[in-house]
């Protein structure tokens, strides 16, 4: 049985709008890493929020989301709150705003631990410092006593990572976790993410618009277009031999490093035109 099973998931916001998700199906086994690729508005983030049970209350949801034996779509708010932070956690895109600016980061991480494990403050602090060290923060003692604005973007994203991993969750959802970071910082955060996921054995749902970044972290990929998954496969297979014309276009345009400078770049329209090949 898989850890996460999403079947025929549809989400609509408001009556007149086209569905944000339209019959999405996928599953994820324990310890596996699935990358979700798509452009803005393709439904990547909505998928992630649906798995977290964090969709706004006016969203209309149908279909099945089963996580570690729990039917997410049927759980009460209290039931969902017990899963979040413990079984499933999330790392968001914007490290600058994802942490409470008025609370020291060590306390923010410790809170998550106490919320689910009921640990006392003494041991909690030790665990927090340990976790901050594990995500690659130098001088974790000092970082724990800092406020978010005193840290750099990369440091904050590591703190978010520590928050997500402190309770050893079964599934970590990462929504464009490195998009807001500089390239060099992105590289180190990605490497660290790989390490901690390896160490903890957690599964990962990794959302990104960047094919290269996904290929660094994941072993499976799903390609989303207009609220549907148009293709899934292993990273090696899908990037080497994309089947769906849209995927072919995406892969071709993404290989900027393999084109000759100044030459015409392949564009998605060379492969796929909306409404023509569907």
């Amino acid at each position: 049985m898989s850890l996460l099973d999403v079947c025929d998931l549809s989400v609509t916001f408001g009556r007149r709008h086209r569905p944000a998700l339209d019959g999405v199906c996928f599953s994820l086994d324990a310890g596996c890493r699935l990358g979700v690729i798509g452009e803005s508005g393709s439904g990547k983030t909505v998928t992630a929020l649906a798995v977290m049970g964090l969709l706004p209350e006016y969203a209309r949801v149908s279909g099945k989301v089963e996580l570690a034996g729990h039917q997410i779509t049927h759980l009460s708010e209290a039931g969902l709150a017990r899963l979040r932070g413990d079984v499933v956690t999330m790392v968001f895109q914007e490290p600058m705003t994802a942490l409470d600016p008025t609370m020291r980061v060590g306390r923010q991480v410790a809170e998550v631990l106490r919320l689910h494990a009921g640990t006392e403050s003494g041991p909690a602090r030790a665990a927090v410092i340990n976790m901050l060290g594990e995500v690659g923060l130098e001088d974790p003692e000092r970082v724990a006593d800092a406020y978010p604005h005193q840290l750099s973007g990369g440091q904050r994203q590591r703190v978010s990572l520590a928050m997500a991993l402190i309770n050893a969750p079964d599934l970590v959802i990462c929504d464009e976790p490195t998009t807001a970071l500089d390239v060099t910082v992105q590289a180190t955060v990605l490497a660290k993410l790989n390490d901690v996921l390896d160490a903890s054995g957690a599964a990962c749902l990794f959302i990104s618009h960047d094919l290269a970044v996904v290929s660094q972290v994941c072993d499976q990929v799903a390609v989303m277009l207009d609220g549907r998954i148009v293709e899934t496969g292993s990273v090696a297979e899908l990037f080497a031999r994309p089947q769906h014309p849209y995927t072919q276009g995406l892969v071709a345009t993404a290989r900027l490093d393999q084109t000759i400078p100044g030459q015409r770049l392949p564009v998605v329209e060379d492969f796929y035109r909306p409404g023509v090949s569907r």
């Binding site: 977290m52 006016y58 409470d100 609370m103």
Partner: protein, 320 residues
């Protein structure tokens, strides 16, 4: 370093506002067409009497000298002398200050006690009927002039139900029970009307928090919406609310002056209105200056508390 800089800047703003407001008050009473002495004596006064009073009050000196003289006295706590009674303005102010302070203080607290829970509810439930009801009630409350609210309260609780006295005041030291009975209606009236205005700000501040990434983070680690809002929202929302509160001080004071008139309370408002009707210019000038000073001091204090709540303001001190 940075914190000291901010405090100095704020003190600078305070000083500029104080000087500026005092100039404005002085200009209105002394420099605009209309002679102070003539105003005090009325239209029937003989030119000789006016000239004599002008000399007596020092009105024949250059305006700048007059202003500096007056403002210098204000800074030492001397707000002038009533022309009609010969009493110092301060001696008129002090006995009435307590009434206004009770009214302003209790109403400020009352409006916060009403507005914060209601505003949080309105924000959290903004898409369901509870939130809409709170917002609509606040919208209605904002439209009710405070004195009409007072009159309606008198109609219901004094005329119809006969639970409370319609107007008047008894000092706390004389009879605490009666003191409270006379203050309940004015305080509740002012609190409710102020709360209606505040609810919108509280709601907006919390809606902002609900849209923040860190609120979503708090939800994603397992806080329920209410607890996430209390844990991570209260402090952040209060940063923006403190600013609003500083601005509310003067509107509560204005409301208090009006409410005093509705309930016939012997506070600063009644002092001012009596002085206006008697054209006792120097009492008006002194009392207004006193009130402006009070508002400026309170707003400055409220603003400083903002420096304490927001670690981004405090941090510079720790970093150095």
């Amino acid at each position: 370093m940075q914190l000291a800089g901010r405090i100095l800047t704020r003190l600078g703003v305070f000083a500029i506002s104080l000087v500026g407001a005092s100039v404005l008050i002085f200009v209105i009473t002394h420099a605009l067409p209309g002679d102070v002495a003539q105003t005090l004596l009325g239209d029937q006064a003989t030119p000789e009497a006016v000239a004599q009073l002008r000399a007596e009050l020092g009105l024949d000196r250059p305006l700048v000298v007059q202003y500096l003289d007056w403002f210098g006295h204000v800074l030492t706590g001397d707000f002038g002398v009533s022309h009609l009674s010969g009493d110092a303005v301060v001696s008129l102010l002090l006995p009435r200050l307590a009434v206004t302070m009770w009214l302003v203080g209790f109403s400020m607290i009352g409006s916060l006690l009403l507005a914060i829970p209601a505003g949080m509810l309105a924000a959290l439930k903004r898409r369901s009927w509870q939130g809409i009801v709170v917002s609509a009630t606040a919208q209605l409350g904002m439209a009710i002039p405070v004195f009409w609210g007072g009159i309606l309260a008198v109609m219901v609780f004094a005329v119809w139900l006969r639970w409370l006295p319609a107007n008047g005041y008894v000092p706390l030291t004389q009879n605490p029970g009666s003191w409270a009975a006379h203050l309940v209606m004015p305080v509740v009236t002012l609190s409710v009307v102020q709360a209606a205005v505040l609810i919108r700000y509280v709601r907006a501040a919390f809606v902002e928090v609900l849209n923040e990434d860190y609120y979503r983070t708090a939800r994603s680690v397992g806080w329920t919406p209410m607890r996430a809002l209390l844990r991570h929202g209260l402090r952040n929302a209060s940063i923006s609310l403190v600013t609003v509160l500083g601005l509310q001080v003067s509107s509560v004071l204005v409301g208090a002056i009006v409410v005093e008139s509705v309930f016939n309370l012997p506070g600063l408002g009644s002092l001012l209105l009596t002085a206006v009707s008697q054209r006792d210019l120097l009492v008006v000038q002194g009392t207004v200056m006193f009130l402006v000073l009070a508002v400026l001091v309170i707003s400055a204090v409220v603003d400083f508390s903002y420096l304490l709540i927001d670690p981004r303001q405090r941090a510079a001190r720790e970093a150095r």
